[in-house]
């Protein structure tokens, strides 16, 4: 547990679940191949620690007075989170540089680059 872990943790949040509307199956397949190759490279370089897509369903729990549970409208939204990658890289500049390589950017996705704060987290290191 005393071993120093190099780099700092960042989370990339991919926003936009509408990016594939209007694209053919072949086009989507091509983009996804590029996405997979990108993620594989980052993994091999030791920079991506974990990354997964989220499905377009789910729920939102909220409520100051008792619970409200609503079905999330996660489809066809510019803001909805579609997936994430946990990175361990040198600094925010490197995380930002990686975010700019995201194959979904050309199609209207945006990528949020967020430093992970504190030592109180769990995993995946």
């Amino acid at each position: 547990m005393s071993a120093e872990i190099a780099g700092s943790p960042f989370m990339l949040l991919f926003r936009g679940t509408h990016w594939d509307s209007g694209l053919s199956a072949e086009e989507i397949q091509q983009i996804m191949s590029r996405w997979t190759a990108w993620f594989d490279r980052l993994t091999n370089e030791g920079k991506a620690k974990l990354g997964q897509p989220l499905t377009n369903d789910g729920k939102i729990v909220s409520g100051k007075k008792g619970f409200a549970v609503i079905d999330g409208p996660f489809t066809e939204s510019k803001e909805a989170v579609a997936g994430y990658i946990l990175l361990r890289v040198d600094d925010l500049d490197e995380a930002t540089k990686i975010a700019k390589e995201c194959p979904g950017l050309d199609y209207g996705m945006s990528v949020e680059v967020r430093p992970i704060s504190g030592e109180i987290g769990r995993g995946p290191d």
Partner: protein, 134 residues
């Protein structure tokens, strides 16, 4: 690949980074202590794969006029303040979301199933399946 995807992993996204503004230091400390106890318990139960707070800074990359640009990250009600990645059933994920100590201060918890294959590739497979069955 044409079978419906089921999930045993869920991501809880905690939305809202302004919830602590009106709390006194004591109230804030109290919520954070409950939050840490909550995460400790879930971790001891083996349900947590990863969990982190996200710093209120960072960048947003968007595509404008043919080039990716990075803008500052703004605090908002919609901004994500942290996440839990849980290995649980859907029912359990919802129950855990309801335990969030900041709910009553205005934080909302998004409960999202995680899958191996992204939704867009599912669409591709569906279209291939439909095409080949003609």
């Amino acid at each position: 690949m044409s079978t419906p995807q089921t999930s045993s992993e869920y991501m809880l996204l905690f939305k809202g980074t302004l919830w602590d503004r009106d709390l006194s230091p004591e109230e804030l400390q109290n919520v954070m202590t409950r939050w840490m106890n909550w995460l400790d318990r879930l971790t001891q139960q083996g349900k947590v794969k990863a969990a982190h707070p996200l710093a209120n800074e960072g960048k947003i990359i968007t595509w404008k006029k043919g080039a990716p640009v990075d803008g500052p990250f703004a605090e908002s009600k919609e901004a994500i303040g942290g996440y839990f990645l849980l290995q649980v059933s859907e029912e359990e994920a919802l129950e855990i979301a309801k335990e969030c100590p900041a709910l009553k201060h205005g934080v909302a918890v998004e409960v999202r199933p995680i899958v191996d294959q992204c939704a867009s590739m599912e669409r591709v497979y569906m279209e291939h399946a439909t095409g080949s069955s003609k």
